[in-house]
């Protein structure tokens, strides 16, 4: 956006002698930069695009319409960070979300309502038993959230280390686990290893209800609902909160770009610098230490601390000379899994779509809408992905943000965000073509049109993002939205790589702060915050301005 670009240019002119260079102006890079700048360091964020925000961005791709191109909900962004960095003062407003719905093939839908009794009666339409089992289910999931949430804002220990700090963190984990009752421990151990499908089978009988609740188990992952570990993924999506309501989803007014815009404004207000159209070609390593970055335009920027918001593969396989890295580290980075599994359709609509199955006054239209009414359909969609194809009958998480925030489009017009799974990084082993992309988009629009006649005719403009476009545009390797899959081997002290889960790299002075690091993806900001904490610690700078995680009461 032009405004950002011109501001950036001004920044560049006044820039002198940076202490820290952050590569990439995504939300985590900006969070880290803000915290470091506020600790008295002089920080510059360099961004290859002429806009900032990475995957948390709102852009005008069609006149009068603001698009949240990539990420589309704001449930995970830590409120502690919003407060520390005064983001509300810089324009961020997060509003609560309506429930959503899944449409069924028999002409009905299952909605989720914010009202407790409406929610129960809705589930009871499908199974009276499930409607009440939901109480126990949400109790159990909430218990798991309460257990995990405090871990988000802590640096994971290296379990193989005998350093006091690592042992201290390990003891913290052990104590936390030990504080559970025996049956809670058992339940936690099961929860972390089960598939969401098996987990839901132990509670519910209705296919539609299971399909609806399985959604959060697969969003963003290269796993199907029947893959072990997806119950944890569900947690990853639930452990957010909006104003203390754990598990609530929120929506950033003005689109997801409002978050990064506020972060950028907060950074500048504290004296930080953002340089756009400044693509980093290489991290400069001299005498085994990172000392700066070489830009694609030939410029060099020097600083004693370099922080990469790029994913771990991009950072070490592209931005650093392999010769500067230990061989085993490089092979572990190569083995880091970040297979893209999702695509996106951003659609400008002439008018609000209609869903004949749903009464027009049903509030669920303002929530997220889905069209896969059984776990089997979702799993079959995954089977297609495993075979290297986009799903013939995809899982779509559709959201019409303009029903919550009409300021994003001209009055009466709407912006629709469709998050689609599954969408492979390569099509049957070869690169995506434009024809593939159009075929993928057609599959999705066809599915929506089945439930919303006339949907296609309302389309004013459509932007299709396969992993190819996501990688090209925001640099996420293979288009993986979490900068790395959320499987056990890539979580906590394994994320991204064992022994390097503390935001440091084998190159002194070079740090990681993207979603490839603990606690992972989603627009959470915690990796950026935790990375800043470790860097400030290494530099003996104060971190008193960083709030610890709020207590979970």
């Amino acid at each position: 956006m032009s405004e950002t670009a011109s501001l950036a240019t001004q920044d560049a002119k006044s820039a002198t002698g940076f202490d820290v260079i952050v590569i990439g102006a995504g939300h985590n890079g900006l969070v880290a930069a803000c915290y470091m700048q506020r600790a008295g360091l002089n920080v510059a964020v360099v961004e290859k695009n002429d806009w900032i925000g990475g995957a948390a961005v709102s852009r005008e791709l069609h006149p009068g319409f603001l698009y949240s191109n990539c990420s589309y909900v704001c449930s995970l962004f830590r409120p502690e960070i919003m407060r520390d960095l005064e983001l509300p003062r810089h324009g961020l407003q997060v509003i609560a979300y309506e429930g959503g719905a899944v449409f069924t093939r028999d002409g009905d839908y299952l909605a989720s309502y914010r009202n407790h009794h409406a929610h129960r009666r809705e589930f009871a339409r499908f199974s009276p038993r499930d409607a009440e089992t939901y109480e126990r289910y949400s109790r159990d999931v909430t218990r798991q959230c309460r257990f995990v949430q405090p871990l988000l804002m802590r640096t994971a220990p290296d379990p193989a280390s005998f350093k006091p700090r690592d042992i201290g963190e390990l003891l913290y984990l052990a104590r936390k686990f030990g504080g559970l009752t025996p049956s809670e421990m058992a339940q936690t151990a099961r929860f972390w290893t089960m598939s969401i499908s098996d987990f839901l089978d132990e509670y519910f009988e209705s296919d539609v209800i299971k399909a609806y609740l399985a959604i959060s188990g697969i969003i963003g992952t290269a796993l199907g609902p029947m893959s072990p570990g997806t119950a944890y993924v569900l947690l990853h999506h639930y452990m957010g909160e909006v104003d203390g309501n754990v598990g609530a989803w929120g929506y950033a007014r003005g689109g997801m770009g409002a978050i990064t815009k506020a972060l950028a404004s907060s950074l500048r207000a504290s004296g930080g610098t953002i340089l756009t159209e400044a693509e980093v070609d290489k991290v400069i390593v001299e005498r085994g230490r990172a000392t700066g970055v070489a830009l694609a335009n030939g410029d060099e920027l020097r600083a004693r601390t370099i922080v990469s918001n790029a994913d771990v593969k991009r950072t070490f396989l592209k931005l650093v000379n392999l010769a500067d890295l230990p061989e085993t580290f490089v092979s572990q980075v190569k083995n880091f899994k970040m297979r893209g599994s999702s695509g996106k359709l951003n659609i400008a609509l002439d008018s609000l779509p209609e869903f004949p199955a749903m009464p027009a006054d049903c509030p669920s239209i303002r929530g997220d809408l889905h069209f896969t009414d059984s776990v089997e359909r979702m799993e079959r969609a995954y089977d297609d992905w495993k075979a290297g194809r986009w799903s013939a009958d995809p899982f779509v998480d559709m959201m019409i943000p303009t029903t919550l925030d009409p300021t994003m489009a001209p009055p009466g017009k709407h912006f629709v965000s469709c998050f689609v799974q599954y969408c492979p990084p390569k099509v049957e082993g070869r690169d995506w073509t434009d024809a593939d992309r159009d075929g993928f988009a057609k599959t999705v629009v066809d599915q929506i049109s089945e439930y919303s006649p006339g949907f296609r005719e309302r389309i004013l403009h459509m932007e299709v993002r396969t992993p190819r476009e996501i990688e090209e545009e925001v640099g996420l390797t293979e288009g993986n939205i979490f900068q790395g899959e959320l499987t056990f081997d890539q979580l906590l002290f394994n994320r991204p790589i064992p022994a390097y889960a503390q935001y440091r790299s084998p190159v002194p002075g070079l740090y990681m702060c993207g979603s490839s690091t603990h606690p992972g993806g989603g627009v959470m900001g915690a990796p950026g915050r935790n990375a800043a904490f470790e860097i400030l610690r290494d530099l003996h700078k104060p971190s008193g301005h960083m709030s610890p995680a709020h207590e979970v009461f």
Binding site: S161, P182, A189, D201, P228, E376, A387, F488, N494, P498
Partner: protein, 516 residues
């Protein structure tokens, strides 16, 4: 009438092993077996009139410690040689993993052979760490069991002491999918297929399902013939092994009664009083050890009203649907497969083939090309008399219990799919078939009294291991009824003929009753 201290339900390897130990301790023990033969899933099957085969033809988890505890050698047991694993197929040269899980590898590139050796070494070490828990009683419901916690801490420390990198690798790999583990270091698709097959067979996971490496750990944590990862085909078939277990039990003084199905476990005021047989006979005893599936023990033999509803419900939700079928083929001449003997021939040409066959079974559909493993058994006297020169015992993976089209229809297609592969590997083999029969998971369940016909009685997955097996609270072999105990594949440490859970349970019973 003879009276007993302990009734053991089920004369499978675990029931017999437990009976032997309990009888040795001076208890009067009776083993009650529903079917006419001992052995349970380890027993022999008359798959066609006069033709017999072993449902489980191979030992991979019968360590020397168990042999010694039961003195199996004295009772006629003898390991066969280590069986090698050979890829089945026309495309020579085959890959051969010989020795204990491929101490030597042939048929792959030098680079892969080296990478495999490294991987094997690492996996065996990791599996041994987990295997150390096989002979342990898992933590019970009150988790105040400091001994068990100390054991976990000790093992973790020991693991750490073997080196920081190996320790980190273990923590990274333990819950990975086998496909990623194989893909990280190997090139040869067939070799990866063999590894993935061993990890996933008998478990409802595909090679790309996270945690599927655990299946391989289970396979490799055992040892047989004194070699970790070893696999032996016993002399005289599995029936002979079971006979040795039974003989050990009898020698210790246990009564073994076949054709004596237990109808119910009798309970009064929360305490076991004995069992009642289907024929009406009541056997009074203060201790009952049920060595059958937990679904049978708690769902059928025990009246639901003796159990808390939450517990009963968690037993009901055990995933007990097996997906391995058994095809027996009696041949009038030995088959002409590649490779040395004794051997296991595996059709799992790539991870993709296994995964593609895993997919349809999730939805109750039959895969077109299911992976399978094949053992050539020496025919027993009766089968030999009918002209059999070899019995093929073939386990076919990814064949769903709840087949939507029905097993009447599915049986033929499945048999054909396997026979086509056999024909390609040993041309003309079809002309030498004397008799054959396919047992679906449903039929295996019915024939052996294991609902679901699952190899491990129910899923052996991460959420059902150790203290979570079969369900939390009952993993220490105690049932929530005084005097009632349980063991079997459904309990820790799962299936595979080893007698382990039986021995563990017997040890717990003896320790608990010492306090009386």
């Amino acid at each position: 009438m003879k009276s007993f201290d302990v009734a053991v339900i089920g004369a499978g390897h675990n029931g017999l092993a437990a009976a032997a130990m309990l009888a040795k301790s001076g208890r009067r023990v009776v083993v009650l077996e529903a079917s006419a033969r001992i052995g349970g899933l380890g027993g022999a099957v008359e798959f066609a009139p006069g033709f017999w085969g072993s449902l489980s033809p191979v030992l991979y988890r019968l360590p020397a410690s168990v042999e010694k505890a039961l003195d199996l050698g004295k009772h006629g047991f003898k390991h066969g040689g280590l069986a090698s694993t050979v890829t089945l197929g026309a495309d020579a040269p085959a890959i051969t993993l010989s020795g204990a899980w491929g101490e030597q590898v042939s048929g792959v590139s030098a680079a892969d052979a080296e990478a495999y050796a490294k991987l094997r070494n690492r996996l065996l070490k990791q599996a041994a760490v987990l295997g150390a828990f096989d002979s342990e009683t898992p933590i019970g419901p009150d988790a105040a069991d400091l001994g068990a916690k100390a054991k976990i801490a000790r093992v973790a420390m020991g693991m750490r002491m073997s080196g920081a990198d190996e320790f980190r690798q273990f923590l990274r790999m333990a819950l990975m999918c086998v496909a990623d583990v194989a893909d990280e270091v190997l090139e040869d698709e067939r070799l990866k297929g063999l590894i993935a097959y061993d990890a996933t067979v008998g478990i409802r996971l595909g090679p790309r399902s996270p945690t599927s490496l655990l299946g391989l750990y289970h396979r490799l944590s055992g040892d047989s013939g004194g070699r970790q990862g070893g696999m032996t085909i016993p002399f005289g078939g599995m029936a002979a092994v079971m006979e040795a277990f039974a003989s050990a039990a009898r020698a210790a003084g246990a009564d073994i009664r076949t054709a004596s199905p237990v109808a119910r476990i009798d309970v009064n005021a929360g305490t076991v009083t004995g069992v009642t047989l289907a024929g009406g006979e009541t056997i009074a005893c203060r201790t009952v050890l049920s060595a059958t599936s937990p679904l049978v023990t708690f769902g059928r033999l025990l009246s639901g009203r003796e159990l808390d509803a939450g517990f009963a419900n968690s037993i009901k939700s055990l995933r007990n649907k097996g997906n391995v079928s058994k095809l027996f083929v009696a041949l009038d001449r030995p088959p002409q497969f590649h490779g040395e003997r004794p051997a296991r021939h595996v059709h799992a040409p790539s991870i993709r083939v296994i995964e593609d066959s895993f997919n349809p079974q999730k939805y109750g559909q039959m895969p077109a090309d299911p992976p399978f493993e094949l053992f050539v058994e020496q025919p027993d006297a009766q089968s030999a008399k009918q002209g059999a020169a070899a019995i093929l015992s073939i386990s076919i993976a990814n064949t769903p219990h709840d087949l939507k089209e029905g097993w009447d229809k599915g049986r033929h297609a499945l048999t054909q799919a396997v026979m086509v592969r056999l024909e390609a590997a040993s041309p003309g083999i079809g002309n030498h078939v004397l008799a054959s029969a396919l047992l679906s998971p449903v039929e295996i369940g019915d024939a052996f009294g294991v609902p679901g016909g699952h190899w491990h009685h129910h899923e052996l997955q991460a959420d059902r291991l150790y203290a979570l097996r079969p369900v939390f609270g009952a993993a220490n072999y105690r049932a929530p009824v005084d005097g009632l105990w349980h063991c079997g594949a459904g309990a820790h440490p799962g299936g595979g003929i080893s007698g382990r859970s039986g021995l563990n349970a017997a040890r717990e019973i003896i320790a608990a009753e010492r306090g009386r």
